[in-house]
Amino acid sequence: MTVQDLDPLIHVPARLRIVATLAALPEDDTLSFTRLQELIGLTPGNLITHLRKLEEARYIETNKTVDGAGARTSVAITTRGRTALEDYTATLRELLGEL
């Protein structure tokens, strides 16, 4: 097993933190883009780029709602995303066991 076996989409510091943060939410919960940005500490532009990549892989889903207070984008991890993180963690464990 090598580092190449790790999911390249998750094996990037910013995306690893995004996926790990969203996976810590209870199922069915969504997180606002603003709160996620506050927790991760990335610039909005940078965060959007990472989120789009994760969304293209269907690891996360975004949902936009509009109410009286304005537009709000919420982000949630999908089942596929949770599975990918579990696989990533398992691969990481195996790798560290070998090191």
């Binding site: 094996h11 933190r17 919960d29 603003t34 709160r35 965060l47 207070a69 304005g70 919420s74």
Partner: protein, 242 residues
């Protein structure tokens, strides 16, 4: 209205127009330009660093999202000790039992009101930016069940039940029996063993506490619930530190 010209021509100066809704906040998702991630992508992430980052991020996120932190359980212990203890203090020598005094009820409801404000403040911070249709439904169901317990207490009084039941055993025990049983089933269904065990312990305490009689039950519940909350708080604290 105030003698100043109204540029909007609405008859009210915009300075004093507190009725109009505030302008909608821009959604960062819409307004932010996409940023490059080249620097990030180029980072060689060592598996050890990745494992450390994953563990640290998960721990931080869980702490941020934790809806039942240890300190809330510690405060809950103190709250029930004072609230139930005040009632027990007012009824401990009553023969026959007539019920808690107005002062004791004032302490009970006052302490509970402070507790509710405290929990709402903590939850508001923890749930900031989060949404879940499930949580709203949970709140409605549990609040309805809780209210029904007190409606039934009214029925007990209305049907000329003994004060020892209507103002003693029932209000001290029934809310915890009913809501505790509902919570135990709910937490078990979600696979939250610790929360389910805590709810079952509350139900068991309430069931056994009823044997202490209308006055004694308040004392038993005061000390028993306080001990359970402190134990649960300590367990949660250890779990978070592990």
């Amino acid at each position: 209205m105030n003698g100043q010209p109204d540029p909007a021509g609405s008859g009210m100066s915009s300075r004093f127009d507190t009725f109009s809704p505030p302008p909608p906040e821009p959604d960062p998702w819409e307004t932010a330009a996409e940023g490059g991630t080249d620097d990030d992508e180029a980072d060689e992430l060592d598996p050890r660093d990745a494992a450390a980052l994953l563990a640290q991020t998960t721990q931080q996120a869980e702490r941020q999202f934790d809806e039942q932190p240890a300190f809330v359980l510690f405060v809950a212990g103190l709250t029930v000790l004072i609230a139930y203890g005040a009632v027990w203090f007012s009824v401990r020598h009553q023969h026959p039992y007539v019920g808690p005094t107005g002062t004791a009820l004032g302490v009970l409801y006052g302490v509970l009101a402070v507790w509710i404000v405290f929990v709402v403040t903590v939850l508001r911070r923890r749930l900031s930016g989060r949404s879940s249709p499930r949580r709203q439904l949970e709140g409605i169901v549990f609040a309805s069940v809780w209210i029904c317990v007190y409606v039934y207490q009214g029925a007990l009084y209305h049907t000329d039940h003994d004060h020892a039941i209507a103002y003693g055993v029932w209000p001290a025990v029934a809310p915890l029996l009913v809501v505790g049983a509902a919570a135990a089933g709910y937490e078990a269904a979600r696979g939250k063993r610790g929360n389910a065990a805590f709810a079952v312990a509350v139900v068991a305490l309430a069931a056994c506490g009823a044997f202490a009689g209308p006055a004694g039950v308040w004392g038993v519940m005061s000390v028993g619930l306080c001990s359970l909350c402190l134990l649960a708080g300590a367990a949660r604290y250890r779990q978070r530190r592990a």
